[in-house]
């Protein structure tokens, strides 16, 4: 660290601090964290060592400096990526640089602090680093050029540090390395200590390219080749060889739980089709958004046990199932639950009921979990009821089925549906009615930053409509509003003062799109 310091400060004509003094200072200042950083945190959690983070940062900065190359090297590209307009890609590249420049800030802070400690009367350098610090706090909308100048200014010390390690002054180099290590640690904590999160403020809404709809996205993803298919196949074959063992253990009163990275749905499906063909079994898609314990119990009582009639509580239902299984010892049921830890099933009560169900002698449960904290769902009592045997089945399969109920960020959201319905409904209305709606929409957009915006009160609305020559009496307006309400285009609610407020229950971006379209049409 001392060498670049010397270089830069020499150029700027400041007092030259002898190397020894700097080194001794560094030796004094070597904090315990820095010393500890050399110890790796075990094989598994090796990411915590700052060493790798530096590697990653270097890699990232390399990529950032050569945006074109990064695009070329990118082999996971979705097909639509290539069709992107050059403008957008450039923009993203520049954005990258901006982001990286932020990263550089962390690099620059350490020398800054060191300098401060050395108390070198270096006003020029101070001002520069101050400037860079201020730059980090500014918004991304800052001028490109400015950033790049700062970048180049900072690059020199950064590069010099890298060069400093290479000269054959071994002892010094070693110490410098140590210092670098500790500075990286500091840097890490600094990066995480500031409450302000420094990401670019670009959002998907600002994206110029049109978003794809769900179906095309799906199709495109399907076409993308699966990496390491052969290895994955080998993995699943390994797991499949366990099927007979599972059967044995299920019959001996254990229940089986699968964990590990990758979708385990295919594996369980295979188990079902190859082994369970001749026996009654129940498949539960835990990831199904409206699955409930109730529906699981219902399908057992109604479809497996052929019982007609309802139950007052799940506990009663469970008791009934228990009784039936007790009466008929030959009755057996395999229950396969994909994602036992899903949002809907992870509640304490549902887990309790499922645990009790699984403890019945004729019920054999095989389930899979994916959440990293899934085992926290169970206390000792439930674990006892479940009587799990754990099997690690890492498959690396993509979670296609499991996430099929989620919306992708890349695809268009449900808002698209609202937009099309909006335009369709409005197209069938009179010109005046459209004007009324547009008026309301504009007003709502004007107030979109006001979080406590209650809506437009009816009186104000009437006034505005009158002024725009859209209605002649409040009766006509009311008739019009009823029409809107029937089509669920607007909603009304009463404020605290008893006044009726109107608003459109559509998100702002959709509304903007709608208005733009309307303007085009008109």
């Amino acid at each position: 660290m001392s060498q670049p310091e010397g270089k830069v400060s020499g150029a700027l004509e400041v007092k030259f601090v002898p190397d020894e003094a700097v080194l001794s200072h560094i030796a004094d200042d070597a904090d315990p964290v820095g010393n500890g950083s050399g110890v790796s945190g075990g094989e598994v959690y090796s990411f915590q060592t700052p060493k790798c983070s530096s590697k990653m940062a270097e890699l990232a900065s390399e990529l950032a400096q050569t945006p074109g190359q990064s695009v070329a090297a990118d082999h996971f590209k979705c097909p639509e990526k290539t069709a992107k307009t050059p403008q957008s890609s450039k923009r993203s590249g520049s954005n990258k640089v901006q982001q990286r420049s932020k990263k550089k800030e962390f690099l620059s802070t350490t020398p800054y602090r060191l300098r401060k400690r050395l108390a070198a009367p270096d006003s020029c350098l101070e001002s520069e680093s101050e400037y860079s610090a201020s730059c980090s706090e500014e918004d991304d909308e800052e001028d490109q050029k400015e950033v790049s100048t700062v970048l180049s200014g900072q690059k020199t010390p950064a590069k010099a540090t890298a060069a400093a390690t290479s000269p054959p002054r071994n002892a010094l180099a070693k110490k410098i390395k140590e210092e670098k290590m500790s500075s990286l640690v500091e840097e890490y904590f600094e990066a995480h200590s500031s409450s302000k999160v420094l990401t670019s403020n670009r959002t998907l809404q600002k994206l110029q390219t049109r978003r794809l709809n769900q179906k095309t996205l799906h199709d495109l993803l399907k076409k993308a080749p699966l990496a390491y298919a052969a290895e994955m196949k080998k993995l699943s074959q390994q797991h499949e060889s366990l099927f007979s063992k599972w059967m044995l253990q299920l019959h001996l009163g254990f229940n089986i739980i699968l964990y590990g990275l990758g979708s385990k749905r295919d594996l369980l499906e295979k188990f079902r089709t190859s082994v369970l063909q001749d026996s009654a079994h129940l498949v539960v898609n835990g990831y199904f958004p409206s699955i409930t314990v109730r529906s699981i119990l219902n399908s057992i009582t109604e479809e497996v046990l052929d019982h007609i009639g309802s139950f007052r509580s799940p506990l009663g239902q469970l008791e009934f199932i228990h009784k039936r299984f007790k009466e008929d010892a030959s009755l057996e049921l395999y229950v396969l639950i994909h994602n036992l830890d899903s949002q809907m099933l992870r509640g304490e009560r549902s887990q309790q009921i499922l645990a009790q169900l699984s403890s019945l002698p004729g019920v054999y449960l095989i389930a899979s979990i994916d959440h990293i904290n899934a085992p926290l769902m169970w206390d000792q009592a439930k674990l006892r009821l479940y009587n799990w045997l754990w099997y690690e089945t890492t498959t690396f399969n993509p979670y296609v089925e499991e996430t099929s109920y989620e919306n992708s960020l890349l695809g268009q959201q449900s808002g698209s549906l609202a937009l099309s319905s909006l335009t369709h409904v409005l197209r069938s209305l009179t010109l005046n009615a459209r004007g009324i709606f547009r008026l309301l929409a504009r007003y709502q957009l004007e107030n979109k930053d006001n979080t406590s915006y209650p809506g437009l009160s009816f009186q104000d609305f009437y006034q505005q409509c009158r002024e725009a020559f859209l209605v002649n009496s409040d009766l006509t307006l009311r008739a019009q509003l009823t029409e809107f309400r029937d089509h669920k285009l607007i909603r009304t609610k009463r404020g605290a003062d008893g006044v009726e407020y109107l608003f459109i229950p559509v998100d702002d971006s959709t509304l903007t799109d709608f208005l733009e379209k309307e303007d085009e049409d008109v």
Binding site: K55, D74, M247, L282, V283, N285, E392, F396
Partner: protein, 658 residues
């Protein structure tokens, strides 16, 4: 039919024809599928029978352990309502009877084991005290209403069960419990009606012999997990029932996992003063485990043995995770299943008599399996060359030898247990317990490697050489008892030898007494000398003591210790030095740990961080913490997220990934 739908989450599949098969059949079928020629069915059968036997044994052990506790509880309940029995009307008695007799049962944190205890408790109560026992759990009783409902349901059902023998027509008791309004008054009415009935019955039938219960048996309500009940519910229930205690002889039993203090922190004074609490402590789970290990593992009757690593894993899970004996037994069961499933030769893991028979019927394949065992190979190598050839070529000769070896193994186990206990007698009383306090630790040490080569053994022998006489004598007596009661036949000589030691000690005692007298007289003589002489003689004494040869006692002590040492070297050879130990020992600890004590976090993290572990592709091989850019997308994304999760803008990320 596919199991994917956007409107349904549950899919039921039923076999087309309703074939009803016996469960066992499918289970054995599933094992058969894997390796047919290796006596799978027989293995499965012996596995099942062994497990059944072990289960029975453990239950018996538990029963015995709980016996004391249950007896105490029963006598408490008998006492508690004796006043009610006599129907005294005195004022003081009435005041006292406002209090509900309560037993606080401190059971320890191993909640999963409590079920067994409560089950046996309620059985004992129903046999001896009262037919009216209700078991309540916190999860069933979120409110006082549910509690009452549950309570009445249980009480009335059990009463119906009892009545069924005597009354053919019990229609008016069997009112649907949903229709009864669940309140204390209805409960009392029910109790009165039941009492009246039994009264009339007994008078009519002149006290039939089967009625072991009293005239008016108490109603016992057991709260299984008192800590998890809502305080409001408990308080309400106690207050309400205390008002009716003179009409309904109620007794409560609280199951407590933590400490008895919890009663007072859960209930305010006004409520807890309505209870007349007596404390009962159950056996600690550690003692329970020791008994189980003692009766299950350190016996010769159980042909199946746990290897050292496996035992350590099970004990560690017990000590560091749950303190649950049930889970320990579950682990044991899993070991049995795994052993019989994975080891084809486990077919010989049964009673010696059966094993010998089975050896005769072994197929050629199985003989080959025997020849492949590492321990057997070692054995073959130690034989003379003719024997070697015979062992490797002739099946019949192999079978003969195998029978002999199995016999040896059995003998080894019998001797092993006795000598181990004997050694434990010595080591368990040494200061600092170099070889462990519990016999299980000693057992592990002996299984691990030759125990006499370890430092701990050395130091414990050193310490044993310094024992005083009385301790030594009692230990020897204990050892004699152990050897006498053991089934091994080889120990006649050992017992004789030990008894000889004992008599020698007794002789020594007599001699020592005489010696003492002489020494004291000598000292008296010295008193007369002057200071200079005294100093001189003292120095001489010191010298002589240093060079003095050992006293008789010390000689004998050395002899005893050496003898014990020789016993240990003879009999406590680690099991894996024995031929054919693979047949009865299960030692794949990794499997067990994976199944019982899994680490899903680590698995996920390893998969994401180092995909090479799973996908054996050279391209994925990476050094240290970095990740190759050919790794699956999810791994790279995870890595990035870990390192600068806060700096990620999703748009940038999605647009220009990595």
């Amino acid at each position: 039919m596919s199991t994917h739908s956007i409107s349904k989450g549950c899919f039921v599949f039923k076999p087309p024809s309703k074939k009803r098969r016996v469960r066992q059949e499918t289970a054995s079928n599933s094992t058969e599928r894997k390796n047919d020629s290796e006596d799978t069915e027989l293995r499965f059968a012996s596995c099942q029978s062994l497990w059944a036997q072990i289960k029975l044994e453990t239950e018996k052990i538990q029963e015995n352990l709980n016996k004391q506790l249950l007896d105490n509880l029963v006598s408490f309940l008998r006492r508690s309502h004796s006043e009610f029995q006599e129907k005294t009307t005195e004022w003081s008695c009435q005041m006292k009877s406002r209090e509900i007799p309560t037993a606080a049962l401190v059971l320890g944190v191993n909640v999963t084991d409590h079920d067994m205890t409560f089950k046996s408790l309620s059985e004992v109560l129903q046999d001896d005290i009262t037919p009216y026992v209700a078991l309540l759990e916190a999860k069933d009783c979120p409110g006082i209403k549910n509690l009452m409902q549950k309570l009445m349901g249980q009480l009335m059902n059990c009463c119906i069960d009892i009545d069924e023998d005597s009354f053919e027509d019990d229609s008016h008791v069997q009112v649907s419990q949903n229709k009864i309004r669940c309140s204390m008054t209805s409960l009392i009415n029910w109790y009165k009606s039941v009492m009246k009935k039994t009264d009339s019955e007994t008078t009519r039938k002149k006290r039939n012999s089967s009625s072991r219960h009293w005239q008016s048996p108490p109603v016992v309500v057991i709260f299984k997990d008192m800590e998890s009940f809502t305080t409001k519910v408990l308080q309400d229930f106690i207050v309400i029932s205390s008002h009716h205690i003179h009409e309904l002889p109620l007794a409560l039993i609280f199951g407590i996992a933590t400490s008895p203090m919890i009663i007072h922190s859960l209930l305010p004074h006004s409520v807890s003063s309505l209870l007349c609490i007596e404390l009962f402590q159950s056996l600690s789970c550690k003692e329970h485990l020791s008994t189980i290990i003692d009766k299950l593992l350190l016996t010769a009757w159980c042909p199946f043995k746990l290897g050292e690593k496996v035992l350590k894993v099970l004990i560690n899970i017990f000590l560091y995770h749950d303190f649950s004996v049930q889970n320990f037994i579950k682990g044991f069961q899993l070991c049995i299943v795994e052993h019989f499933y994975s080891q084809p030769l486990s077919v010989l893991c049964c009673e010696l008599v059966d094993a010998k028979k089975r050896v005769n019927t072994l197929s050629h394949n199985q003989c080959e399996n025997i020849r492949r065992l590492p321990s057997f190979r070692r054995y073959v190598e130690s034989q003379v060359s003719e024997n070697q050839i015979a062992l490797l070529t002739s099946d019949s000769f192999l079978k003969e030898v195998t029978q002999k070896l199995l016999e040896d193994l059995q003998l080894y186990h019998e001797n092993y247990v006795s000598v181990l206990r004997c050694l434990h007698v010595f080591t368990s009383s040494l200061p600092k317990y170099p070889l462990g306090k519990q016999i299980r630790e000693l057992h592990c040490a002996c299984l691990e490697n030759q125990v006499w080569e370890t430092e701990e053994y050395e130091s414990s022998l050193q310490l044993a050489r310094m024992l005083n006489k009385s301790d030594l004598v009692t230990m020897l007596q204990q050892c004699v008892e152990i050897f006498v009661s053991s089934s091994g036949k080889e120990f006649d000589k050992t017992v004789e030898k030990l008894k000889e030691f004992l008599t020698q000690f007794q002789e020594l005692e007599a001699e020592a007494f005489e010696e003492d007298v002489s020494v004291s007289s000598e000292k008296e003589l010295q008193k007369k000398t002057d200071l200079y002489h005294l100093q001189k003689t003292l120095l001489e004494l010191k010298e002589s003591r240093r060079s003095k040869k050992l006293t008789k006692f010390e000689m004998l002590r050395f002899e005893v210790v050496d003898y014990i040492d020789s016993l240990v070297r003879n009999y406590l050879v680690p099991a894996d030095h024995k031929t054919l130990y693979e047949v009865v020992y299960f030692n794949t600890a990794s499997v067990l740990r994976g199944h019982l004590n899994a680490a899903p976090r680590t698995a996920l993290h390893t998969a994401l961080n180092n995909p090479y572990c799973y996908l054996k592709n050279q391209a994925l091989k990476s050094d240290g913490g970095s990740i190759s850019n050919k790794a699956p997308d999810i791994c790279i994304a995870y890595k990035l997220h870990l390192e600068c999760g806060r700096l990620i803008n999703l748009v940038d990320w999605l647009e220009c990934p990595f």
